[in-house]
């Protein structure tokens, strides 16, 4: 009798775990700002399952919106070139070069309901060496609506890449590359104990052809 009950409890617990697991890996129907999650415009070689295109907006630094964005992110900053704003499933980020393009700034957010001045939960700065970053500048100080950690890092795609794809549980998040600028990507695959995050990445050409794939193991540093 006791054994039978124990079996039922275990069975019920397993059912719950499976149910939770399915829920947590379900493909999202919206981006973090509530807009519909749409597929990318091309078929991406080797990318299976649900694909969600992130939204990218390129804002002139001198425009009213650009001034507002940079002022909320890095007060006093004078960007060299445009500001790239990306809206994904888990967060929003802005990226821009500093004067002379010696470095690149990003601000990351997971609570888009706040005003711009309050929303940023992380700021990253990376020095450029030969126009390239030597480190993805991982941030892990942001949390999602349910308290889960969200990590942000830069990917520096090859010059021929038009899309950067980050594999997420249950779906693939697709980031259009733009303006020869590092692409700020997000993941919930964060290990707080080791201050580390893993990004399973593939890069694709304009026609969807896969150029390369790799795991980016990013570490909080510096």
């Amino acid at each position: 009798m006791i054994e039978a009950r124990r079996g039922l409890y275990v069975g019920a617990a397993l059912a719950l775990v499976v149910g939770c697991t399915r829920d947590s890996t379900a493909a999202p129907s919206t981006l973090i700002d509530g807009s519909p999650a749409r597929p990318p415009p091309v078929v991406l070689e080797g990318v299976e399952g649900r694909r969600v295109a992130t939204r990218v907006r390129v804002v002139a630094a001198g425009s009213r919106d650009g001034r507002s964005l940079r002022a909320s992110c890095v007060p006093g900053a004078a960007p060299d070139g445009p500001i790239v704003e990306r809206t994904g499933v888990a967060g929003v980020s802005v990226t821009f070069f500093d004067p002379g393009r010696h470095g690149v700034h990003a601000c990351d957010a997971t609570d888009v309901g706040r005003s711009r001045a309050e929303r940023w939960c992380a700021h990253a700065f990376g020095r450029l060496s030969g126009a390239r970053l030597r480190d993805p500048r991982l941030t892990i100080t942001c949390r999602g609506a349910e308290g889960d950690l969200v990590g942000f890092a830069w990917v520096q795609p090859s010059t021929t890449a038009a899309y950067v794809v980050v594999q997420q549980p249950g779906y693939a998040e697709v980031y259009p590359a733009s303006e020869s600028m590092p692409v700020r990507v997000a993941t919930t695959d964060v290990d707080l104990a080791s201050s580390h995050a893993t990004f399973a990445i593939s890069e694709h050409a304009m026609d969807g052809r896969r150029l390369r794939s790799y795991d980016l193991e990013a570490q909080v540093a510096g």
Binding site: A124, R137, D215, Q219
Partner: protein, 207 residues
Amino acid sequence: MLVSRTLLVTFGLALSVGWVGSAAAYHTRFVADNCNYAAPTPTSVITRDGSAAVALRARYEGYQWAGGCWNDNDRDDSPGDPTTDAGTGGEGGDCSGFAFKVWRESLDTSDSSFQQWGMLRYVHGPYTAAAFKAGSGAPNVTVSKSALIKMDALASDGHIGLVYAVNPDGTDQIIEAKGEAYGTNIWTRTYRGSSSYSGVRRTGWSS
């Protein structure tokens, strides 16, 4: 566990060649042979002088990008690591890892309690210098540079150093993990006068 984590990091770094450049071949065994993953000890009475003593134990030790583990033998046990390579397994913290450990912070950014990390505990913490500069995390606040006292910090987008003492001429003796070529030590710095640097304070000290 340690071995598998090391393998994972090494594998990842080998794959992400774009970030590693020519540094991928260099490794030491300092972390593998000496460091641990022991839980920190919650600590209630924390003084600035006590944290200065923690910082001084790291003096003359090495520097490791993304690192946070050192001994107390007053030398860098893994000199010449390639810079900005997190996978070389060398001795020392980087600037933000050093500040995190000396300020005895929690991995949970919403937790402002004090946590005593062992010297050989391999931990960096969730903050970069830029995050400290912005006052990210429950324990950390930005403060006017004129108000900074012992064991407060000066942070820029790319570096953080702790105020060990204030010099009569207005400069500071800063204790910091400066870089691979310098290790961890006390130097006289003019960070306070630089517009790139902001004042940051760890809150909650007993005295």
